[in-house]
Amino acid sequence: MSDRILEIDGVSKRYRLGSIGGGTLHGDLTSWFARVRGKEDPNRKIGASPRPGPNATFMALDDVSLAADRGDALAILGRNGAGKSTLLKLISRITAPTAGEIRIRGRVASLLEIGTGFHQELSGRENIYLNGAILGMSRAEITSKIGEIIEFSEIEQFIDTPVKRYSSGMYVKLAFAVAAHLDPDVLICDEVLAVGDLTFQQKCLGKMSDVARGGRTVLYVSHNMRTVNQLCTRAAYLEHGKLLYDGTVSRAIDLYAGSGVRTVDRNLDRMKRAKLQGLLIRMLAMRILGSETMEYQMDDTMEFEVKFRSDAQESRLRLRLMLRNNSSSPVAMTQTDTFEVKPGDTPTLRVRFPLTSIAPGEYGIKLALIGGDPRGRSMHYDLIEDVGHFIITDDPSRTEGFLWQEPSWGNFRLSRLEMEIR
């Protein structure tokens, strides 16, 4: 039963950077006419080389080869911009590769977006037919499965209501229900589980692993390592359009986790920031102490130094640290006590950041220098959105066997409930 179902063979995808073509028919026609007469292109930028250089293109995927067998649940991991979505787009035939070849046996169903082609004015039932047909089912096939689909979607009583009256949750449920009943040979999912309530998410994951166990192939892209762990049997790791690893899930997750900006020394001076107060007080550098990888255990303490320069007098300066979680939502804020700086100072601030009560996961750090007066008004001197990432590893032995369920439990690990049995 282990026959090949998908082969990706040396696939590359190149995008041209900048504007494409002259943009107007007139522009292209004049360029073409000039070329025909052997004259110089009137639309060419002065000083530009006659042929666009090789750096005018961008390799979204660079010679990627990958294969999947029947029954594989393959995760594709990588940072934003690593080429995951491009790869899925190529496999689902939304755009053609620049080089290489992709070979597929059987039917591919791609859920790059849930509810593709749903029409607001049509009822749930009508949309099941339309969406099913768009995904490649025949009408007879949909009719034979419609009972199952409606049941799976959990919205029987609204099935003849136009979907524009649906809540977003109902919408997603219906959409996934259709997709789940496609019975494709290759199912491609791109972060579709990020929506819907938790029970439904679990149901979707269950359905997807059923698909894989039923001898089909699942390709799954997600930033949610928990679902990757739960669902996938293999994983590939992409970075800058290149396939760096293809193998076990845990190793790929390690690679992924290690790929964030987790350098212990950061030059903050060069980083992009908003122009605040003319940057009279400005962060120059940050150095993490006591960790090489920025991986921490629960309840560890992160220590770091921030060096900054002041060109102003400020008697109530603070360093503020804000955390963002994996989906870029703000999670928490903490700050130092106030301290004083004078023009010309270049102090180094050593900070201890106890990670108690922060749940396992990956976080981004945002740093700000804030001045404030006693009446509570504050003034931002410097603000850097993404200074770096750190990870708090999940350790079930410390939580009596529980793995942290971020989607339902959030990013805070509160202290144990006190109780008394009577």
Binding site: S2, S92, I104, G117, H119, L130
Partner: protein, 288 residues
């Protein structure tokens, strides 16, 4: 295991060559085309009071205006036919052609969201548009037939439908649809790069109507500028419209001699359209 490997079902390669349309696959997606037609029809008239009646109201009003302006005020000859019937015949067929053209010319632009998320043969979209428009046409055609019967049964009526010619109506409709869709997909393929053409379509179709004997008869031109007739007949819609009127009203017309030219132009447009479309459909997501 080596021996029993079945062949690959799908091989995705960089776009290569000119003609690359999988007609077998297109047929597999016939259900989708039908469902899209159904969708277009239900959705279009949701939240309108008169609903599908609009299908009939539009050409009737235009015909009425033509009858008053061109027939009444300008007094253009209508080959001796009742002017209302004359204009209505031209109007509904032209309406079918022009709506096919302008709707399909937006194929890539207006379906960008859908095309960017899921694969199906892109040609399903223009085909379903042409089918939707065909339904509209057929409804209008029924109304036209009622008027036709009324006028034909009037004593001393000049209207004498030519049933031998009427038998070819389905072919005529296919030709109209292919022409409209052909021009439409040519424009849609070019608009993925050049948006200028989108601007052109709206009034271009309008101007084209005046170059076609919709509001007048080509016999008018034959009388006044016989030297221009060859140029005039390059417009493939001219013989189509006049054939339609000849068949149903029974009027002799010179355009019919140019029907082979019209069919040839239709084929050229269709092939060119398919070529461009198949060239663009694979990678247009990168440029749109």
């Amino acid at each position: 295991m080596q021996g029993q490997q079945e062949p690959w079902d799908t091989i995705i390669r960089p776009k290569r060559g000119w003609f690359d349309i999988d007609f077998k696959e297109l047929i597999r997606y016939w259900d989708l085309a039908v469902l899209l037609v159904k969708r277009n029809f239900t959705v279009l008239y949701k939240q309108t009071i008169l609903g599908p009646a609009w299908v009939v109201i539009q050409p009737l009003m235009t015909t009425l205006v033509f009858t008053v302006v061109f027939g009444g005020i300008a007094g253009l000859p209508t080959d001796g036919m009742p002017s209302f019937l004359f204009y209505m015949g031209g109007n509904i067929l032209w309406g079918y052609f022009s709506s096919c053209l302008s709707e399909t010319s937006r194929t890539f632009i207006s379906n960008r969201g859908l095309f960017g998320k899921v694969y199906f043969p892109r040609l399903v979209m223009p085909i379903s548009v042409s089918l939707s428009k065909l339904i509209n046409f057929l409804v209008q055609f029924v109304i036209f037939s009622l008027f036709l019967v009324y006028f034909a049964l009037k004593p001393g009526s000049p209207v004498h439908p030519n049933f031998a010619m009427i038998a070819f109506t389905p072919l005529l409709l296919i030709q109209t649809a292919v022409l409209g869709m052909g021009f439409g997909i040519i424009i849609s393929s070019l608009t993925t790069k050049y948006r200028d053409l989108n601007m052109l379509v709206g009034f271009g179709v309008h101007l084209w109507m005046y170059a076609t004997p919709v509001a007048y008869s080509s016999s008018l031109l034959v009388d006044k500028h016989p030297e221009l007739i060859g140029l005039y007949m390059i417009n493939p819609m001219t013989p189509v419209i006049e054939y339609f009127r000849s068949a149903y009203l029974g009027v002799e017309n010179i355009s019919l001699h140019y029907m082979p030219l019209s069919v040839a132009v239709t084929l050229v447009v269709m092939v060119l359209g398919l070529l461009l479309f198949s060239r663009v459909e694979k990678t247009f997501m990168d440029t749109v």
